[in-house]
């Protein structure tokens, strides 16, 4: 299942050979690759069709970030980010997980609809102890980009480097000339290369933002492409608290998909906010000349509490090389969303903040996890989640195990053609949002703020599907 990239390269080579007027002026695709910044790909250990099997080990590792001295990090299979697992929709994934960390851990498969026992929260499995192992096995029901990370002391373990990606191919993929899976992250490094884990008050209140931005684990790398290409970016934000507000100089970004896969009506943006945990599938038709460089940045974004004071910061440089090509067209439409009913069991969720015994806490319905009473809903029922954010900052709401669709924002209905499947969404400050989800898998499922410092300090709840 890892041959898509090779296939694309091969197709690109055939296309170039077929169209070349002057062989000397046409670069080989190999000459314009992004091997140095592509994510390491997991190797399928099972030759049979429809199954992907891999060993995945979490262990301490020495990682280099830019010019900083080496960092003692934690990594899956020795790299940060961890491996990219590429499969086809319907494939079965079998992961032999080994914990070689000094602390217990789990793996949560963010966005994947799977049996509750595989979800990697402490509600459904005992954490894997140091030296222990665990078998994760489940089917990939949906196409899209997903990711995996610990769900134990996640603010610490994710910051240390434990995260990887799953790219699930569907049979209705749009055409593109070049594709790159991009993991956006940040890390707070001390001058000696160690990770600064001191929980200062701003990092608790707003979520920890690092002083070093990472693009596939690298500091301000160069992405190579040809002018005219249709570039497809599969984006995920794995940061603890930073919202990325993506911009590519001189270009609009066409959003063709998000957490739950492709969306029916793609839309254009100049900047794209991506909250922790969210994914976006973006197409951009690259204009410019050979030799041009385009800056990819994260732009100022006000998510409350003075966060708009961050300046524009570089993420990567896109270098246009080779020769101008007649790239594929931007897609204008995508597959229709199967709309969920608009009525069901009411699930009120009020997000709040409070100082309790001198400590900053984050609340759901006035309670701090694990004291938030669980929601109980029969298997197969539709739940109507009424989100209310009474705080003066945004919170990325994440639901485990199920997609949801936004029915209304601040009481204003979202048109059916603007509804699509999400599992993580930005809930603006002092606002309301109504979601619908079909709870069709038994078990205990979490919902929480994906600013990891908030979730770990109380903003988590459980839904019990009976």
């Amino acid at each position: 299942m890892s041959g898509w990239g090779s296939l694309a390269v091969a197709c690109g080579a055939l296309w170039l050979v077929g169209c070349a007027d002057d062989a000397d002026s046409v670069p080989t695709p190999e000459a314009i690759d992004n091997a140095s910044i592509e994510l390491p790909r997991a190797i399928d250990q099972d030759p049979s069709e429809g199954r992907f099997e891999l060993d995945l080990t979490a262990a301490p590792a020495s990682i280099g970030y830019g010019e900083s001295p080496a960092t003692s990090a934690w990594a899956y299979n020795g790299t940060v980010p961890g491996p990219l697992i590429e499969v086809a929709r319907g494939d079965r994934l079998l992961v032999h997980f080994q914990n070689d960390l000094p602390d217990e851990t789990t793996i949560h498969w963010h966005g994947v609809r799977l049996p509750a026992a595989m979800d990697g929260t402490v509600a459904v499995q005992s954490p894997t102890q140091p030296g222990g192992s665990f078998e994760y096995e489940f089917d990939l029901k949906d196409a899209g980009l997903f990711w995996f990370h610990p769900h134990v002391v996640s603010d610490i373990q994710v910051q240390r480097g434990l995260y990887g990606t799953i790219l699930v191919r569907g049979d209705d993929e749009p055409a593109f000339d070049r594709e790159l899976v991009v993991v956006l992250d940040d890390i707070r490094l001390n001058s000696d290369g160690s990770i600064d884990e001191y929980p200062d008050d701003e990092g608790v209140t707003n979520g920890r933002e690092g002083n070093t931005l990472l693009f596939n684990g690298q500091v301000a790398p160069t992405v190579r492409a040809q002018p005219g290409e249709l570039l497809r970016l599969r984006l995920v934000n794995t940061a603890n608290g930073r919202f990325f507000n993506l911009k590519l100089a001189g270009h609009t970004l066409r959003v063709v998909g998000t957490d739950g896969g492709l969306i029916p009506e793609p839309y254009d943006v100049d900047t794209l906010p991506i909250a922790p945990g969210e994914r976006y599938d973006v197409m951009v038709s690259l204009s410019g000349d050979v030799g041009d460089t385009l800056e990819m940045t994260t732009e100022p974004y006000d998510r409350g509490h003075g966060t708009d004071k961050n300046p524009s910061m570089p993420l990567a440089t896109l270098s246009l090389e080779g020769a101008q090509i007649d790239g594929k067209p931007l897609p204008d439409s995508g597959p229709a969303t199967v709309l969920l009913p608009e009525t069901g069991t009411a699930i009120p969720v009020l997000l709040g903040e409070a100082f309790i015994d001198g400590e900053q806490k984050f609340t759901i319905n006035g309670e701090v996890s694990p004291d938030v009473p669980p929601v109980i809903i029969p298997n197969g029922e539709i739940g109507i989640i009424s989100l209310e954010n009474e705080t003066e900052q945004e919170h990325p709401f994440h639901l485990h195990g199920f997609f949801f669709q936004v029915l209304a924002r601040n009481g204003v209905a979202v048109p059916p053609n603007d509804r699509f499947n999400k599992d993580t969404i930005i809930l603006p400050m002092m606002s309301t949002m109504t979601l619908a989800a079909r709870f069709d898998e038994q078990g205990m499922w979490m919902y929480h703020c994906h600013i990891l410092e908030h979730g770990e300090r109380g903003m988590m709840g459980m839904i019990h599907v009976e």
Binding site: R188, N190, S191, D196, Y198, D200, D201, E202, T205, E209, G210, N211, H305, G306, K309, N310, P311, M313, E353, A354, F355, G358, Q360, E392
Partner: protein, 143 residues
């Protein structure tokens, strides 16, 4: 705040170099600014080689959050070991209310909660057992 602070730190270094007085002035964002009062508990530069004294932090902003005040500053001295924050009111003289590691640039002061009170802050950096002069002052009220 990290990138902002880097920028402000650069500006502060330039400004402080020009003024030659690390104990006065400030950005004044979010409240009053003014000269640091070194007469109360002042140790800045005393008891050691003045050249070895670290530069004072720069108070940037006071933000009312959750009924208290969140204090933001820029650390001018690299490898400052600890940052000491003092607070006063109209009736209570300056007293130390927090100390943070030297690479931290903010503190939520849960002792500043009286919405009818004006709280004034100043900071010092300690490095190698030597205190800096006081920073600028900033005043604000919680909401």
């Amino acid at each position: 705040m990290t990138w902002l602070n880097t920028f402000l730190a650069s500006c502060a270094v330039v400004a402080l170099s020009a003024c030659g007085d690390s104990g006065s002035g400030g950005s004044g964002v979010g409240g009053d600014s003014g000269g640091g009062d070194t007469s109360i508990g002042g140790m800045g530069g005393m008891g050691g080689d003045a050249a070895a004294a670290p530069s004072a932090p720069v108070l940037d902003m006071l933000e009312p959050v959750h009924g208290a005040l969140h204090v933001y500053w820029t650390n001018v001295t690299a490898d400052c070991e600890t940052v000491h924050g003092e607070r006063k009111t109209a009736t209570v003289a300056y007293e130390e209310v927090f100390s943070e590691p030297g690479n931290v640039d903010n503190k939520a002061d849960q002792g500043a909660t009286d919405t009818a009170e004006t709280y004034t802050y100043r900071l010092r950096c300690m490095k190698g057992g030597v205190m800096s002069d006081y920073s600028n002052e900033l005043s604000g009220m919680p909401e």
